[in-house]
C-alpha cells in the first residue's frame, strides 16, 4: 500500500464529525502500513479546511474547487472522485457513510473498477485486502466481508470510530486538482431544494439525541421533546411512524431507512422499538427509554428504562436535569 485516500464531507464551514472519525481510522491504517495519507475536499472554498486536516495528521490535501458541489447533483461528484483517485492512486478510499456518499458509491466503484464495501462498523487492511464488519438484516447480524485484491472503496457508519487528532500534525501539502466539468455532462437538473431543520443541531453529528415515537402523539408532545432537546443541546430524531404523520420532517428519521446515529446519550420517548428503528440507534452509548408499555421492545436496549407516561415524566426530567447540571 502506498496511499490511502479519505474523502472529507463539509457542511457550511465545518468538516463533518463523521468524516473526522473515518479519517482517524484511515490514519491508523496508513501509519500501520507506512503509507501516505491523502484526503480530498470537494467544496466551493476547500482551502479553509487545510489547517484542521493537518491536525489529523494528513500528508496531502487534494482539493477540487467548484460551486457545483453546493446542492450537488451526482455527476460532478463522481467525476471529482475519479479525478482525485487518479492523483492519489490509493489502495483504499475511505468515506463517511452519508446520504450524499450512498448516492455515488456504486457509480464510483464501477468507474474505478474498484470493489465497494459500504456502511461498515469496522474495517482493516491486511495482505492487500480489506476486511470489514457490516451490520446486515436490519442490524440483527454482522457480516464479515472481504474484498478481493485491488482497490477498495469503504464507507464507515458514523460513530464507529473516535475522531482523534494526530499526535503529530501532518504536512497537509495542498494539491489543487484541475476540474473541468461541462454542464452538458450533467444530464439532469436540480429544480428545487427544500431544506428542513434550519439551524437545528445536526443529527448525525450530535452527542445527545432526543427521539420521538408514536407516544409523542401531537403538538404538545412535540413541544415537550423540543424542550428536553433544548435543555441538553440535543438533536431531535423521530421514528418513521411520526414522520409519516407529518409531526416530524423526514430528515429527522432514524433507522434502517433514515439516519444511523450513535450519540453518547439517546432518549427514546414513546418509541416502541421496532427493529427498523433500533437498526439506526442501537450503537448509542447510553440509551434512555420512556414508554407506557412495560413490554415495549425498546426496554431490551435501554441502559435506563422508565415505564410511564412521557407527558408526566419528561417535564419532571427537564427540571431534574437542569438542577443536576447546576449542582
Amino acid at each position: 500500500m502506498t496511499s490511502i485516500l479519505a474523502v472529507i464531507a463539509t457542511d457550511a464551514s465545518r468538516i463533518k464529525r463523521s468524516s473526522l472519525e473515518s479519517l482517524s481510522r484511515a490514519r491508523e491504517i496508513a501509519r500501520a502500513h507506512d503509507a501516505r495519507l491523502d484526503c480530498l475536499v470537494m467544496d466551493s472554498s476547500p482551502e479553509q479546511h487545510i489547517g484542521a486536516l493537518a491536525a489529523f495528521g494528513v500528508d496531502r490535501v487534494l482539493t477540487v474547487t467548484s460551486d457545483l458541489f453546493v446542492d450537488a447533483l451526482n455527476p460532478p461528484v463522481v467525476a471529482a472522485l475519479v479525478a482525485a483517485t487518479a492523483e492519489s492512486d490509493p489502495s483504499v478510499v475511505v468515506f463517511a457513510s452519508t446520504e450524499a456518499v450512498k448516492d455515488v458509491l456504486g457509480a464510483v466503484a464501477i468507474r474505478l473498477g474498484a470493489a465497494a464495501i459500504p456502511d461498515v462498523a469496522a474495517f482493516d487492511y491486511e495482505n492487500g485486502r480489506v476486511s470489514a464488519l457490516r451490520p446486515v438484516m436490519a442490524a440483527k447480524k454482522l457480516a464479515r466481508t472481504e474484498s478481493a485484491a485491488g482497490r477498495v472503496l469503504v464507507s464507515v457508519r458514523s460513530g464507529s470510530y473516535n475522531a482523534q487528532p494526530a499526535a503529530e500534525p501532518g504536512a497537509a501539502t495542498h494539491v489543487p486538482l484541475a476540474f473541468e466539468f461541462e454542464a452538458s455532462q450533467v444530464r439532469q437538473e436540480m429544480r428545487e431544494v427544500v431544506r428542513s431543520g434550519g439551524d437545528a443541531v445536526d443529527l448525525a453529528e450530535a452527542s445527545v439525541v432526543v427521539s420521538a415515537g408514536r407516544g409523542v402523539k401531537d403538538e404538545s408532545g412535540r413541544e415537550l421533546v423540543a424542550a428536553l432537546a433544548s435543555e441538553l443541546n440535543a438533536a431531535i430524531g423521530a421514528t418513521r411512524a411520526v414522520v409519516e404523520t407529518g409531526l416530524y420532517p423526514a430528515t429527522a428519521q432514524i433507522g434502517q431507512t433514515g439516519k444511523v446515529v450513535s450519540p453518547q446519550l439517546y432518549f427514546a420517548l414513546g418509541i416502541s422499538g421496532a427493529i427498523q428503528h433500533v437498526a439506526g440507534m442501537a450503537n448509542s452509548n447510553v440509551i434512555v427509554a420512556v414508554n407506557k408499555d412495560a413490554d415495549a421492545p425498546i426496554f431490551g436496549y435501554a441502559t435506563y428504562g422508565v415505564v410511564g407516561d412521557l407527558f408526566k415524566v419528561v417535564p419532571a426530567l427537564i427540571e431534574q436535569i437542569r438542577a443536576a447540571k447546576t449542582a
Binding site: A116, A138, Q188, M190, L265, A274, F299, T303
Partner: protein, 241 residues
Amino acid sequence: MVFYVCIKQVPDVSASVDMGRMVLNAYDASAVEECLVLREKHGGEVHLVSVGPDGASETIRKALAMGADEATHIQVEDLSVLDSGAIARILAEFFGTVSYDVIACGKQAQDTDAGLTGGMLATLLDLPFATNAVGLDIDGGLVVTRQGDGGREVIHLPTPCLVTCSNDMNDPRIPSLKGIMAAKRKKIAVASPDKANLESDTSVTGFEPVPARPPGEILDGEPEEVAAELARRLKDEAKVL
C-alpha cells in the same frame, strides 16, 4: 413510458431472520407501487426483472399480482455468493436486450443493506440516475423528489434514466384476489446470465452476532422520583450530563 422494476427476494427481517420466510424486498415493493401509479396516471407498461434462484419465482408472482404486466427471472443458483457488482453486471447484460424509459430499483435490499446496485447499474448503462427517491412524477422526463442529507431535492432526469426508491414514498398495495388470479396467467420469461458476469469483488465469509448491550435497569416510582433518580444516574453513573 416503459418501466422496468428490479426486484429481489429477501428474508423477512421483521421476523426472526433464521425462520427463512422469504418476501419481496420492501424498498422494491415501493418501486413497483410507484411505477404502477405512474402507469395508471400516464399509461405505459411495468415490467419486472429479478435475479435469483428457482424459489424466487414465488416472489416474482406476488409482485405480478400487484399489477405489473410481465416479468423476467434471471436464474442463478446462489444469490448469496454474488455481490452488488455482479448483480449490476447481470442486470446490465439483460438491459442491453430490451428498451425502456425508466429503470426503478429499491434503494437497498433489506437483507444486505448495501445500496450499491442501482448506481452501479446506471453507470454500466451510462444512464443519469438519482437515489433515495421519496416521490416520482412524469413531466417530459422523470421528476424525482429525493431525500438528501439536509433536505428534499427535486431533480429532473431525462429518459432513459434510473431511480432508486425509498420505502417512504408510498404504502405498496396488497394484491387483490383478482390480481392474484390474473398473475397466474402472466408470463415469467426465464434467462441465464453470462458466466463472466458471475465474478464478485467482495465476499461474505461469515456472520457474527451483534455484541449484546450490557443489561439495563428499569427505574420505578412516581414521575418526580424517577426523574430525579434518572438525572442522578445520568450525571454520576453514566457521566453523560
